[in-house]
Amino acid sequence: MAPELLLLSVAGYTAGALAALAFRGMVGRALVAAGALGGSLATLALGAWCLATGATLVFAAPWLPLTGFALRADSLSAFFLIVVGLAAAAASLYGFGYSAHYDGRYSLRLLGAMFNVLLLSLTVQVLADNALTFLVTWEVMSLSAYFLVLTEHDQAGTVRAANWYLGVTHAGFAALIAAFLVLAAGDMTGSFAAMRSVGLTPGTRNLVFLLALVGFGTKAGVIPLHVWLPMAHPVAPSHVSAVLSGVVIKMGVYGLMRVTLDLLGGGPAWWGGIVLGLGAVSALLGVLYALMEHDLKRLLAYHSVENMGIILLGVGAGLMFQSYGLPALATLGFIAGLYHTLNHACFKGLLFLGAGSVQYATKTRNMEDLGGLIKRMPRTAACFLVGAAAISALPPLNGFASEWLVFQTLMGGALVPRPEVAIGMPIAVAMLALSSGLAVACFVKAFGITFLALPRSTDAARAREVPASMQVGMLLLVGMCVALGVTPFLVVPALSRALAGLGRIPVTPIGFSLHLPFSVAGVTGEMSPLLLAVGLALLGVLTAIVLRLLADRRLRVGDTWGCGRIGQTPRMEYTATAFAEPLRRVFAELYRPTEDLSIDFHPKSKYFVRSIAYRSEVQPWFERLLYTPVLSALRGAAARVRQVQAGSLHLYLAYLTIALLVLLVVARWSR
């Protein structure tokens, strides 16, 4: 059944891409969405089927133009297929309605075709079974994402963002090519199975690990390789942003696990330590920068950096515990990382779709111009609220289940009798806790300023609820956020099967029941989100009933209290800037904000103010510190290379001749 499902999904995406080129308008949009939806559902079914039955799908096509094209679905691939399928299905549905307002303004052909190509490449990516297939698909994925980011090409900042993305992603790609060249010893069409058995020296293994970390880290948006992410993800069409943030960056996690855990079979403890450290820094800095953002989608993009950090905390701890010979804890760490991967795909997809709905209805992403949308777009608001609670790791939603597992894993560090772990793990726990606390602050801001109180602009006041297809897309993910949150007793065993299929970790039997208990030595925490959810609902309803019976039922509608002032205007509300102000002060050393205050007084008396203008900006200074030297070196190198490019045909012919001669000499020499 698996080959049929694979064919079905490829056929779906291909049909969607072709339909985008062939049809226009409403029909075109519908066919694009139908193709993408069919393809992603088939992807989802393929992943679920492989994971449930443990079947391994192998597909090789030596007759294809790229010789050595090989696919293989093992349990880890199957899990990532599920991630791809889930987020893509919701995004496709949503995209049907969302792309309507692009009709006539931007190229729907390019959008529809590239969207399907991106989904196809994502599906093939996790199935790739040799270096060549992996790298070619990787590049197709990066380039299709590049074209999608460019969709709104005439908006300010879009081209710049796309260029940054292209540059950084190719730097990472170069590192990946190098990593696979070393790993495969030059034979790019050799299967992954051959790589697994090859014996490398520790030095080579370390080199491969570091190259892979750089390559996959750029894709995952790990700090300090994240600069492109908050630029590129917000400017893409929202359903594309959902796929970019929900799935594409997860390929970094997939690649890292595939190479370090599967192909290399784990390594020394410092590998895990580095991944853990990068994860902790990304988690904290990601949310800190998100707090200062007032562009709704940029805020979400920074939160992707944060959540990749949380995922890497789990994966890094897993790698570390594996090398310390604590397989049960290692499994726990990897499970936590994978669980959060799936959860993040759902709630971040949902939030980007919600932000897209806001943009669709109000034409702006600036939170300072929004407000009051909960009354005008009640369904979008409710969906966004669920996403916000889930990403803030509030029980009983899915973000909490996976963060709880990450916490438990890190606390398991108490079992490692080494001073660096004994000091490092509590700090990692603290950074994770701080970032999740700040995420709550950030999403109170994001939801509160965007959806609550009075509208701060006429566009926000005129907003209307979005079309049904967009609502359905969001509702699908809302359902997943709740379902994944209350059923860890189903999800965790499935994830341990996904890991067990790799055969790299000796699978320790973990007793599962209705709860999330771990009979792992040193880590015995228990919780049951399902019972918690039921309990919370019961207590809430009970309170409401008791209140109805015993308390006074009168309710009067009045004005918001304004110290006696009558009439409430949006200017009296707290703004997003004001909301984040206390935290900006607390972390002033990190933000180094620049402030610019100009007051225009009345000429007669300085007690009368005509106007006040206040500007404040936060500059990520360490990015400048890091990237300015690199950029100037690149520019210098480019200037030097330009000298060779004289534009004269004779000169180029001479270059060709010289190159040919040199090659001949080298070939002769080496024989």
């Binding site: 009051g372 909960i374 609220l385 609670a389 803030s392 790791a393 509030l394 029980p395 909490f400 709880w404 916490f407 606390m411 004994a422 000091i423 603290a430 950074m431 994770l432 806790a433 701080l434 606390g437 709550v440 602050a441 109170v444 300023i449 609550l452 109180a453 009075l454 709860h515 880590v523 015995t524 925490g525 228990e526 919780m527 918690l532 309990g535 919370l536 207590l539 809430g540 309170t543 209140l547 015993l550 006074d552 009168r554 309710l555 009067r556 509608v557 009045g558 004005d559 918001t560 209290w561 409430q568 949006p570 009296m572 509300e573 707290y574 984040a580 206390p582 935290l583 002060r585 607390v586």
Partner: protein, 314 residues
């Protein structure tokens, strides 16, 4: 099992109905310490009864979230009160949630209350919400690391397990790790429940306020729910401090005698902690808002020392 569940329900109800009294007791003790006569400790019950009998006034700009939030806050705090060990350990409810769940359930209440503060569009609400989430976020690392310290010596984050291990090894209660973690949690308790020196529970119209500004738009039965939940949260921290660090007196078996002893010991613990808070609140002045992070980082350092000391000393 039935007895077990009944015990959990009874614990939750006991905490619920005791909570306003504890707040009243602290107020009365403070008044006495400051040479005032003060309202009797049962004054908060009268206030709650009064609020439940009054009509609710809701801003015309508020949405459904404003009506939902009091129930979420009350239910989540009550759920915490059911989970934490008030009188007996270990109970089956231990398996529903551990210490991390307690922390995040309280955060769930904060999340909704802060949103409700922003909902009517008043500047006071926004200010209070902004400050409340700031303090809550900065208190998070201390809480997590203090939990780590407790989990490390007990080998578990389960509440019943932690209490049981400390009882089994009485010396661990006076180990540096435990003492430092206790101090850290005490400071966090002051911050999380809006006590001096972080917030002043006695003022309503001062720009320094945090919690009271956030709930300014609430009235009638909604306000009653929120006030009651706040009192319950205060008591929950007392329970955590009293029963996790000094677990003696908790009933290990559900016999009448053991439970009665537990009730007595629990009352003593609550009074001791109430006196401590009252004395502290009389002695210290409120900190400026931007000095609060310093206090919280101090508590974080204590918690970090608590974890590392248990590594160094083992």
């Amino acid at each position: 099992m039935t007895a077990d569940l009944m015990m959990a329900a009874a614990q939750g109800l006991l905490a619920l109905f005791l909570a306003p009294g504890v707040v009243g007791l602290v107020r009365w003790l403070k008044a006495r310490l400051q040479n005032r006569r003060g309202a009797p400790p049962w004054q908060p019950y009268r206030e709650l009864r009064k609020l439940f009998q009054k009509e609710v006034v809701v801003s015309r700009h508020a949405s459904w979230l404003f009506h939902l939030a009091p129930f979420v806050v009350f239910a989540s705090t009550l759920a915490v009160a059911v989970i934490v060990p008030v009188l007996a350990v270990p109970l089956l409810v231990d398996r529903i949630g551990d210490l991390l769940v307690v922390v995040y359930l309280l955060l769930l209440g904060t999340f909704f209350l802060a949103l409700a503060g922003l909902d009517p569009g008043s500047a006071f609400g926004g200010m209070g919400a902004s400050r409340e989430v700031t303090v809550a976020a900065l208190a998070e690392p201390t809480l997590a690391v203090a939990i780590f310290a407790l989990a490390r010596s007990a080998g578990s984050t389960n509440l019943g397990e932690i209490a049981a291990r400390t009882t089994a090894d009485p010396l661990s209660a006076v180990s540096p790790g435990h003492l430092l973690a206790f101090a850290a949690l005490f400071i966090v308790m002051l911050a999380e429940t809006g006590r001096l020196p972080v917030d002043n529970p006695a003022t309503h119209l001062e720009l320094t306020m945090i919690h009271e500004a956030m709930v300014l738009e609430y009235s009638g039965r909604y306000l009653a729910l929120i006030e009651w939940a706040a009192a319950l949260k205060f008591l929950v921290f007392f329970i955590l401090l009293g029963n996790l660090f000094v677990p003696w007196g908790l009933a290990r078996a559900l016999t009448l005698e053991a439970v009665m002893t537990a009730v007595g010991v629990f009352a003593v613990k609550v009074v001791v902690l109430a006196v401590a808070v009252a004395v502290l609140e009389t002695r210290v002045a409120k900190l400026r808002l931007f000095r609060v992070p310093e206090l919280l980082s101090a508590s974080f350092v204590l918690a970090l020392l608590a974890v590392t000391s248990s590594f160094l000393l083992r």
